[in-house]
């Protein structure tokens, strides 16, 4: 890692190869310094984040406009046991045999911005296998596909907002953002709240990953405090004797807008 290479560079010195990790790390540092100098403690990722190359032409350039949510935005789609089979929460039993890798449980709660549990709502996950390979046909990483692992799961939260998935710990994988670019191991999560305004798609990471500092997707959340919220905690009480290791990860959605009276009408 070499942010210092850039910081210490004198005018006229060679610009590092834009395709190098050094260049990407320097761009991460520059965007984060820019936020810091403006006093922006970002909770969400910065959409204009040049270190993530694919963002260049896909981030809106105008500020989002203020809208007071109304009508349909104040409620969320309903999902239930018609939509999701409870077996979909176990990603290790979806094919004929046992997938290869480190068996883990990821469990936690989905809460709204006021700390209330989000009950009976859909949670969707997808991930690479233990070797860092997705089933997806466009994943060309030459790591083995596991015939016993699709890496897709769904669950409906309990009355206390709880969810729990049994899966295999995903591997890190290379991607084409720059040369020798590797994504830290992660599980994609898709969440709904009680209002459509709370819709969230994010990624959960594992503690202590040495790739964190190098990853422009994770680092696009420019505040360390906010980034930490995407990292699960190892939880020995969730681990099971001679069976699996446990991780806890609670998810907090944005705050709701409905008044208590409106909420009553929607129940």
């Amino acid at each position: 890692m070499s942010e210092t290479v850039i910081e210490g560079r004198e005018a006229g010195e060679a610009v590092p190869d834009r395709d190098s990790q050094a260049a990407v790390s320097a761009e991460i540092a520059a965007a984060q310094a820019d936020d810091e100098s403006q006093g922006i403690a970002r909770i969400q990722p910065r959409l204009d984040f040049p270190a993530y190359r694919s963002a260049a032409l896909r981030h809106p350039t105008k500020e989002p406009r203020h809208a007071d949510p109304e009508g349909i935005e104040l409620v969320a789609p309903v999902f239930g046991h018609r939509d999701v089979d409870p077996l979909e929460a176990d990603l290790t039993i979806q094919r004929g045999g046992e997938p290869i890798g480190e068996r883990i449980r990821i469990a936690g709660r989905v809460l709204d911005g006021d700390g209330r549990p989000v009950r009976g709502q859909l949670v969707e996950v997808w991930q690479a296998n233990a070797a860092g390979r997705y089933i997806h046909k466009r994943d060309q990483h030459p790591a083995p596909v596991d015939p016993n692992f699709t890496g897709v799961g769904r669950a409906i939260t309990g009355d206390d907002g709880s969810y729990s998935f049994v899966t295999i710990k995903p591997g890190p994988y290379p991607w084409r953002n720059h040369r020798n670019a590797w994504r830290p191991a992660h599980v994609h999560f898709s969440l709904f709240g009680t209002e459509f305004t709370q819709r969230l798609v994010t990624q959960m990471y594992f503690p202590g990953d040495p790739l964190f500092a190098l990853d422009p997707i994770y680092q696009a959340i420019t505040s360390q405090q906010a980034r930490d919220r995407l990292v699960a905690t190892y939880d020995h009480d969730t681990s099971e004797h001679e069976w699996l290791l446990g991780y806890r990860w609670d998810i907090v959605l944005t705050g709701t807008h409905a008044t208590p009276m409106e909420e009553g009408e929607h129940v």
């Binding site: 009508g71 349909i72 969707e124 997806h136 994609h188 944005t254």
Partner: protein, 200 residues
């Protein structure tokens, strides 16, 4: 957990810090799309309408790996509370749809035109946009082009200049379908929304 002050419309600073979003990435296709996700009603249903368009980037190039979701009231403006979007019963309207863009950036939903949720309000479909390269979800609204009076009095549309406003109103095509293009960046960039309690 904080008490909500009775006199505050949205206890803005009072809550837990939300979990940040991250890009949907390139590999969601085998996980998120579901059978008939784009068919809120079966094609050919009397009164159904096709909502379609193209998602483009800052160069006007198609975005072939975007994911769009829509959420809407039924034709009478009722907010439906029905499960079953992921395993559709063709007879049950759930109001929720999800689809991915094709290789040419195009998408198409079959649905009903939403009614107004309150008298005189402008009917719209709520839409979220996800894509590789897009670090967080975007919210927008797809307004029906009619009735003009309702569009005139809409709070959001009234706050926008004509060019921005046009990006949120679907275009009625010759065949009766509704066209709504999503331009992530650049010329005629779609207006995306920030709701109260959504921090930067």
């Amino acid at each position: 957990m904080s008490e909500t002050p009775a006199n505050s419309r949205y206890a803005a600073a009072a809550g837990l810090a939300p979990t940040p979003g991250q890009t949907v990435g390139p590999f969601y296709h085998y996980a998120l799309p579901f059978a008939d996700g784009e068919h809120l009603v079966p094609a050919g249903t009397p009164g159904s309408v096709r909502l379609h368009g193209t998602v483009t980037d800052g160069h006007g190039a198609p975005v072939p790996d975007a994911l769009l979701e829509i959420w809407q009231p039924d034709a009478d403006g009722r907010v439906v509370r029905e499960p079953g979007s992921l395993r559709r019963d063709p007879g049950v309207f759930t109001g929720f749809g999800r689809t991915q863009t094709w290789r040419d950036g195009g998408y198409s939903f079959t649905t009903v035109e939403p009614g107004a949720t309150s008298a005189g309000s402008a009917p719209f479909i709520a839409m979220t946009v996800f894509a590789r390269g897009l670090l967080n979800r975007l919210f927008t609204r797809v307004y029906l082009p009619e009735p003009a009076a309702a569009l005139e009095s809409d709070a959001l549309l009234s706050s926008l200049d004509q060019a921005d406003r046009d990006t949120l109103v679907a275009v009625r095509e010759g065949d009766g379908s509704l066209r709504f293009d999503v331009r992530l960046q650049g010329e005629r960039e779609t207006v995306f929304l920030r709701y109260p309690r959504h921090e930067v």
